[in-house]
Symmetry: C2
Subunit: 248 residues, 2 copies
């Protein structure tokens, strides 16, 4: 397992954010609030992977060639295997996976409904953006987790990055017709805006999860810290889009 | 590897159908017609799996619960892995997988377009019927293949049967409302009719493949034998539907 370094601009250690990291699940889960937060986290990630599977498989229909179709199908299948691992872990810790996922269904479904790609390139950008944001989020959250849960999250993270093929295709399309870049830049902004809006909805509704995300304590969390995390993820997104030739 | 018994009503051995079975790929593929037939077969199976992946993933959207959705997604993912194995084998024997699949795209796409399920139960019946027909076909063809190709086909076959969960669900729905049985019986007939019609199109267009399917020789094949194979597969389908409570 790789060791994850804490981001430079991590929140203050006032709420002892590293104490849980030194514990295993058996010890950390004695705290009911921590337990609830992890169930929320795994439920949110699991449904996110299942929803991603479904959308990538659907977007594969837009592929111009069989090879492209197979690439997107491969990503979809990888997301499904992430889903399986997260779901199995939920069952292992004695939670009904469906119940853990239910609270997050509306947010993901809204996101995907609002961001159905209208062509293959939009589908590729969405696959790449989604994959990257998921990686960033896994990294942010890993350092706040007990050793067992962190192991799972990092294992799933290690297995992402299937979207790199998308980068090459998008670059080639922009080279061939620079106007495509402008359209896709708007699209990438819309994706990020919709992702943030759905995330904020989840944060507002799921106290235990939000508290853990910012390394908070049981009696409340600092909304400003959640905002900072979103800012870091948005900045990373903006840099990636610029590198891709899409001014965000 | 399991040993596959030859069906009781297998075609006559007039065209030495077992001679290839005793050979490995290196030896058998010296015959250009046999080679072309295997490339066709693997191409047809590969695109069939990729198309099945796509449709099952899409049909997962009709699932009434997250558990059901996950079950169909699991089948879809299994089909994708079959696709990968078949595609990799095509590359291994020096064929461009896309080229091998292309001749079969129209038939599969037409089949799926004509048989888009309108609800979850139709989706389940389609998953079960599709999985079963695929197994029957793999079994029919296995005995006519060289040892290496047979090994691959049997390995993919061993890994099917994900649709058994569908049986339970369909039974329960018919128990709850017997009228559902009548509707689904019509649907199953339509599925089989459409599958046969597309298969016959393929048989008419792909001589080398068709010749091999009936254990024929290089200078032609017996159309009656193809018909017998279709009849065996249709009969097995009818029995399965009856067992499921669907009078075909």
């Amino acid at each position: 397992m790789r060791f994850m370094t804490t981001p430079d601009n991590a929140p203050d250690a006032s709420a002892e954010p590293t104490s849980v990291a030194a514990q295993d699940w058996a010890k950390a889960s004695v705290d009911p609030q921590y337990r609830a937060a992890v169930v929320d986290l795994l439920g949110a990630l699991a449904y996110g992977e299942l929803a991603a599977f479904e959308r990538l498989a659907e977007d594969a229909k837009l592929a111009p060639t069989l090879t492209d179709k197979a690439e997107l199908a491969k990503m979809a299948s990888a997301e499904f295997h992430h889903f399986e691992r997260l779901r199995d872990r939920l069952a292992e810790i004695g939670t009904e996976p469906t119940e853990a996922m239910e609270p997050f269904v509306a947010a993901y479904d809204s996101f995907h409904r609002q961001t159905a790609p209208s062509d293959w390139l939009e589908g590729l950008v969405k696959a790449y953006v989604g994959d990257s944001i998921a990686s960033d989020f896994y990294r942010e959250v890993a350092s706040r987790l007990d050793a067992d849960t962190r192991g799972l999250v990092l294992a799933v993270l290690d297995d992402t990055g299937h979207a790199s093929f998308a980068v090459e295709k998008v670059r080639a399309a922009i080279d061939a017709d620079p106007r495509v870049g402008g359209r896709l830049a708007l699209w990438a902004r819309r994706l990020m805006g919709e992702a943030l809006s759905q995330s904020q909805r989840v944060v507002a509704e799921r106290d235990a999860l939000s508290t853990m995300l910012v390394g908070g304590v049981a009696d409340g969390f600092d909304l400003a810290e959640v905002g900072k995390m979103f800012t870091r993820i948005t900045e990373a997104h903006t840099k990636r889009m610029a590198a891709l030739g899409l001014a965000a």
